[in-house]
Amino acid sequence: MDIEMEMVPLAHYLFLSATLFVIGVVGVLVRRNAIVVFMSIEIMLNAVNISLIAFDRYLSLHDGQIFSFMVMCVAAAEVSVGLAIIIALFRNKPTINLDEFNIMKS
């Protein structure tokens, strides 16, 4: 039996990825906790990774895999910086509720 026939079509992966991406976006929009917002952003990045890998697999390409590794590396770097910023913030004001940070506005 042909394996290709049984494979899930590319579009499904893309829909999954798009859905995850939207979930991430909505998470950023509606959550107040800085950490959760940050996790939502991570979901967005991982949604992108799914797309990248899916494209690679179905179009028989390789660049996307490299790309997704890069994305993971960068995401890790961002995590470290992001958490550091949040900790610095927490030291001055013991909260990570984003709504409490609005000194600067027009």
Partner: protein
Amino acid sequence: MEPITAPAIDLVSLAPVLVLSVFGIMVLVTDLFIGKDKSVLVFISLTGLLMGAISSLAKYNLPVHSFNGAYIVDHLSVFFTFIFCISSALAILVSVDFNKREGIKVGEYYSLILFCTVGMVLLASATDMIMIFLGIEIVSISLYVLAGIRRNDPKSNEAALKYFLLGAFATGFLLYGMTLLYGSTGSTKLVMIASAIRNGGVASEPLLLMGVVLLIIGLGFKVAAVPFHMWAPDVYQGAPTPVTAFMAVGPKAASLAAFYRIFSEAIPQLSPSWEILLCVVSVITMFVGNLGAIMQTNIKRLLAFSSVAHVGYLIIAIIAKNSLSSSALMFYMLTYAFMIFGTFGIVILLGRKGDENLEIENYSGLAYKHPVLALSMTIFLLSLGGLPPLAGFVAKFFVFSAALKEGFLILVIIAVLNSAVSLYYYLKVIVFMYMKDPVKEFDITLSPMTLFVIAISIFGTIQLGIFPDSIIALAQAN
């Protein structure tokens, strides 16, 4: 079995990146072994920037493609590397006295600026989306830290947090856009994408277009184009002033270079569909930037909105995408570097410990106490407003003529109208300096480094306004 040959790695073309990275690490390491006095670090980083700029000339017979077409050394990248090195050097120079005054005693500060410069060079030279992504992230992550470098200042913290969260959010969009571009054309290399589109090798037209829109958002955020600009005023206000100046020039220039490369090299074929989008973005960016600035009372916020407006003009160069517009982009960013560092240099001088004097009314009567400073500020502001014969005018004229050549008459009219409006708020500051009585005593320490930056900037602003030809010739060499 095929013989294994060593891969062709052209490290020479990477020279500025390597030099700057090495010096960045050197600063970090040296910081461990010296005491409280950080002036050695300043010296090392300035040397690094100088060497970086020189090493960018290592390649001749431009353009040189390396790393399988992921990296290019051409006139655009070399010119931009110079802009980055100049702007980073100016940023370090204005930081020295500021940091001493405000008690910022961290050595990482200088290495972060160097690393950020590395990212910018990568951005301007990358011809592969992966590299562009890396460049953007190197720049952004350094900036997140720099914005929050005053750890005990709630404003600085908040700026870092806002910048970080929104930046990461925008990165998500940018990445998704790149992915869709990659998925529909099958390559991450700009040239290959272009050829796939040209030869009808596009897997899915809607995905491609979706990808382009997402790219505009990601890049639009980095250059602070409306409606992705909301972070800019807050972050500009909260970040330490030298960092604000730094952010307003180098990273913006780098993102614009990448913006230009992607749109003119990878997807010029799609221009009918993205032209209209960029036109809309450019127009609302100009309007929001200029109208927003009118109401500001804080000089840093005013400059933030003004820099938003300038992005609006610069996007016009991307829309025009002819040979004139790339050199216009380079020339504009160079002049912009001088104008911005000059302005911020004066903003820094006017501050003192614990009181940065950032309200516009604090500039009242500056002309009577410090006529030369007021005159310099006037020159910078008028140049930002595009008054001839200062550099800002030539730069704007250049961008607008590039667009006119492609027939974007309406767009240019709107831009000229906007630059006329913009003079209004620049003038407001001048009115305060010349025509109002001081509200309080000025207590200005004329620190030599900052004055040096202001002097260089004055020279640049006037020189590039009256004798711009030699620099324009350099920008046009390609």
